[in-house]
Amino acid sequence: MNTMQSLPLLQNALTVGAILFSLGLVGILTRRNLIVMFLAAEMMLQGISVSLVAWSRYHGDWGGHVLVIFVLTVAACEAAVALVFVLQAFSRTGRLDSAAWQSLREATVGRMIDHELPSIDTLPPRFPTLTPAGILPPADENEPLQRQHV
């Protein structure tokens, strides 16, 4: 009982939660890759969840635990939806860079990303491919270029 309500455990757990949250916040503010941004957001969410569980344990109340289970469930659904958006955004622009959507800014405001992103029209067409099987096919010279855009 004593360990369950001990203050150091709470402090440690809150510290971990705060670190997770801060890492996520920094990630979402600094990274432009949509998936990474999404991951960072998830990290913030988990930081909060850890804090919630810690407080719940400190108070000896199961409500926080139950709530966190629900949060995780909802976060899983949200992750599915968010990934759909990311995929759609990718299929529109051909890249995962959130700066590709910079043209949604107010017309009178200048661009924030200084270098010009390559136009999608200059990219070679990409076709669906089957899973490689049998003999290793010759390397596709376009593949590094496409990966570079991702």
């Binding site: 979402i28 503010l29 941004m37 959130s98 959507w101 910079q102 107010e106 405001v109 990303i113």
Partner: protein, 778 residues
């Protein structure tokens, strides 16, 4: 006489055309080429009823006596349908006004004991004047409607035309049957609206749309006069009813033209107020009847379909002004100056319009100016203020309705055959190819010119006699000579009439002197000569000389195909390809001429039916003196000031000779210039020289109005438009710029970069946290 109820019949006269109009509107598209049936049935029923009413009224008036020694008993019958509106305690007539109740003392009046309700009964009246007008309207309307089935054939607006014609007959019969100034005003506007719609019947044609607008706007000026006159009448007489009414407590409320007031020697206001009312009524009449200076709309109104011109702008609607003044005869009789002005306006209009008519080359425009001129004649006659003058004006109205409708329908027949061309210089010698039209047109022209046994001769002679009697009072009537021995006595009689408005001397009254009337008489005589000249100029140009037809005219055998989409010769209508059946042939320019261009029977039958009264009715009515005796029983004309001027019915041989001489001179000059010649020669230009320019430009009336009225108004409108655009709109725009400016401040944060938005969110949360911490620090 009790086999029918006149009140029921009277209601039927307007009701049947109204029902026809409504049926045409509802069923027009379904009936298609038979869309004329409801309208014609309605107007025909109304015409039959009107003739019965005329006969019934004539029976009431009784046969003419040998002399006019005893006053004629006024005949009127009132049918009140319902009460439109009643306003309690609407009016307290001021003490001393003719509307005040004489049984109350001045103190009671000052205390407001004479407060009355104002009610608007929808009342129809039947009296000789109304019966005459109803007969003219419905009979001419019927013939015009029959004619239109031929003329308007194949027009896409066929049902619309007949709905409008029936609607017009309804409005016009209500106008002359209404027994209330307010109803008169309502239907005065209604006929104006029908006229507007019919002038602009081919509204896709810019000229027609413009002409309709012009007619409407010019008529507004006159309508404005009528509105003010109605206000003044109500203020002065405390009622707008023509007839006496009995209030609930059994008091007789004298109507404006009721028996009570007519019998009262001081019943009518003279002086400045009376003159103002009369001048406003005259303004209204000038607008509707196209008198100087408001005549400019009528010539342009010829852009409408020719049957509409014949019905509305020649025979009936334009006579509404004559009707109004005749109805208001007692009001005018109290104001000799206003009466004289009526004559001056009329005679001047007659002369000016006749002068313009001499140089017009458009057949319909010749007739339009002739209509203005003849209406001026009627005004000149009305202005004499004598019983002879009033009855002569209505007599001329009647004959004019016959022969002018005939002439217009004849012109329409010519235009129909010539493929929409109406310029007389482009055709000629048509008597060989359109014999019925030519013969009936000649009858109408002879009637208009005043050639001896035709209708116009007698009515014009009566008008000249009425004017002559005022100019040379001593020369007229043995038993009346003592009564009208000279001008001064004549003036004195009227001065007594208006003596109850002491101290008011209207300068206009000074116009009422024999010299004025002498000048007016000579003007009218000259007009008679000019009328004969331009009428026969048109006859000779159209029907004599070498036979020529314009390109695009179609020989008969398929006259229905000879379309009339353009009505004044702006491009010929009708299919241009081979039209095919019968002996039809294209008439090339100066090339092959078909045997016959005569119009179908639906168009020639009304011509023949109108030609008969145009030839005979003048002699019939004059020789029996039936009409003037009949009309003298109209309540308005039994006012002592009018009825006392009755003169024995005589034929003035010297006036007839003068009139005939004037007409003969006109016809001879026209014959010298145009008989047997090709109609495209410049005869008139040679003859008149510089005057031709003046006449052909219609005395520059349009230009003067444009410079004096239209341009300043347009400038004012421009100022208003600029004010609206830059001041009013500017203020609205300035308000609209406030949110834009506020938005501009936050707009800069919209960078389109998600990290920025996320940062803003983080900062916001941090701000809230700091704020909470600050608040919770204690």
């Amino acid at each position: 006489m009790q086999e029918f109820s006149p009140s029921t019949l009277l209601v039927l006269v307007p009701l049947l055309p109204l029902a026809g109009a409504i049926l045409t509107v509802l069923l027009g598209r379904r009936l298609g080429a038979k869309a004329h049936l409801p309208a014609i049935a309605g107007i025909a029923g109304a015409a039959a009823v009107a003739v019965m009413l005329l006969a019934a009224t004539a029976r009431d008036v009784g046969p003419a006596h040998g002399a006019h020694a005893e006053p004629v008993r006024p005949v009127e019958m009132i049918t009140t349908l319902w009460n439109w509106a009643t306003f309690d305690s609407a009016y307290a007539p001021p003490a001393g006004s003719p509307a005040a109740d004489p049984r109350l003392s001045p103190q009671d009046l000052a205390a407001g004991k004479d407060v009355r309700a104002f009610s608007i009964p929808v009342a129809l009246r039947l009296d000789p004047l109304t019966a005459t007008m109803l007969t003219i309207i419905t009979c001419v309307g019927l013939l015009v409607a029959i004619y239109s089935t031929g003329y308007m054939h194949d027009d896409p607006g066929y049902p619309r035309f007949f709905a409008l014609v029936a609607m017009f007959v309804f409005s016009m019969s209500m106008l002359v049957a209404a027994s209330n100034f307010l109803l008169v005003y309502v239907f005065w506007e209604a006929v104006g609206a029908c006229s507007y719609l019919l002038i602009g019947f081919w509204f896709t044609k810019p000229e027609a749309a413009r002409a309709a607008k012009k007619a409407f706007l010019v008529n507004r000026i006159g309508d404005f006069g009528l509105a003010i006159a109605v206000f003044l009448l109500w203020m002065t007489y405390g009622t707008l009813d023509f007839h006496d009414t009995i209030s609930s407590d059994g008091v007789i409320m004298p109507g404006i033209f009721g028996q009570t007031r007519l019998a009262d020697a001081a019943g009518y206001v003279g002086g400045a107020l009376g003159t103002a009312i009369c001048l406003l009524l005259l303004l209204a009449a000038c607008g509707k009847s196209a008198q100087l200076p408001l005549h400019v709309w009528l010539p342009d109104a010829m852009e409408g379909p020719t049957p509409a011109s014949a019905l509305i702008h020649a025979a009936t609607m334009v006579t509404a002004g004559i009707y109004l003044i005749t109805r208001s005869a007692p009001l005018f009789a109290a104001c000799p100056g206003a009466l004289t002005l009526v004559s001056i306006v009329g005679a001047t209009t007659a002369l000016v319009a006749a002068l313009i008519g001499t140089v017009q080359n458009d057949l319909k425009r010749v007739l339009a100016y002739s209509t203005i001129s003849q209406l001026g004649y009627m005004f000149a006659s009305l202005g004499t203020g004598t019983l002879l003058g009033f009855s002569a004006a209505i007599f001329h109205l009647l004959t004019h309705a016959c022969f002018k409708a005939l002439l217009f329908l004849g012109a329409g027949s010519v235009m129909h055959a010539m493929g929409g061309v109406i310029d007389m210089r482009r055709f000629g010698g048509l008597r060989r190819v359109m014999p019925i039209t030519a013969a009936t047109f000649l009858v109408g022209a002879a009637a208009l010119a005043g050639v001896a046994p035709f209708a116009g001769f007698f009515s014009k002679d009566e008008i000249l006699a009425a004017l002559h009697a005022k100019g040379w009072p001593a020369a007229h009537g043995d038993h009346h000579a003592a009564n009208m021995a000279g001008g001064p006595f004549h003036l004195a009689r009227f001065t007594t009439d208006s003596s109850h408005t002491p101290g008011v001397s209207v300068g206009l009254d000074a116009l009422d002197r024999p010299e004025t009337w002498q000048i007016l008489f000579w003007m009218s005589l000259i007009t008679a000569g000019l009328t004969a000249f331009y009428t026969f100029r048109a006859v000779f140009m159209t029907f004599t000389g070498p036979t020529r037809v314009p390109e695009g005219a179609h020989g008969h055998g398929h006259s229905h195909e000879a379309g009339h989409a353009g009505d004044t010769g702006h491009g010929h209508a009708g299919p241009n390809g081979p039209t095919g059946h019968g002996h039809a042939s294209h008439a090339g320019h100066g090339g092959h001429i078909a045997d016959s261009y005569e119009s179908p029977w639906a168009m020639t039958l009304p011509l023949v039916l109108l030609a008969i009264p145009s030839a005979l009715i003048g002699w019939l009515l004059f020789s029996t003196n039936w009409l003037s005796h009949f009309l003298s029983a109209t309540p308005s004309l039994t006012a002592p000031a009018v009825a006392s001027t009755a003169t024995p019915h005589v034929f003035h041989m010297n006036l007839a000779i003068q009139g005939t001489l004037a007409a003969a001179i006109g016809i001879v000059i026209a014959a010298i210039g145009h008989l047997g010649r090709s109609s495209d020669g410049p005869q008139m230009e040679r003859f008149l020289g510089p005057l031709q320019t003046l006449f052909a430009n219609t005395f520059y009336f349009d230009q003067i109005y444009s410079a004096l009225i239209v341009r300043p108004l347009e400038a004012l409108a421009l100022v208003a438009a600029l004010f609206d655009r830059y001041v009013v709109d500017g203020a609205v725009d300035a308000i609209a710029r406030i949110p834009v400016a506020l938005g501009g401040i936050v707009r800069r944060s919209q960078s389109g970069l998600m990290q920025r938005y996320a940062l803003a969110g983080v900062m916001g949360v941090l701000g809230i946290v700091v704020l909470l911490a600050w608040q919770l620090r204690g």
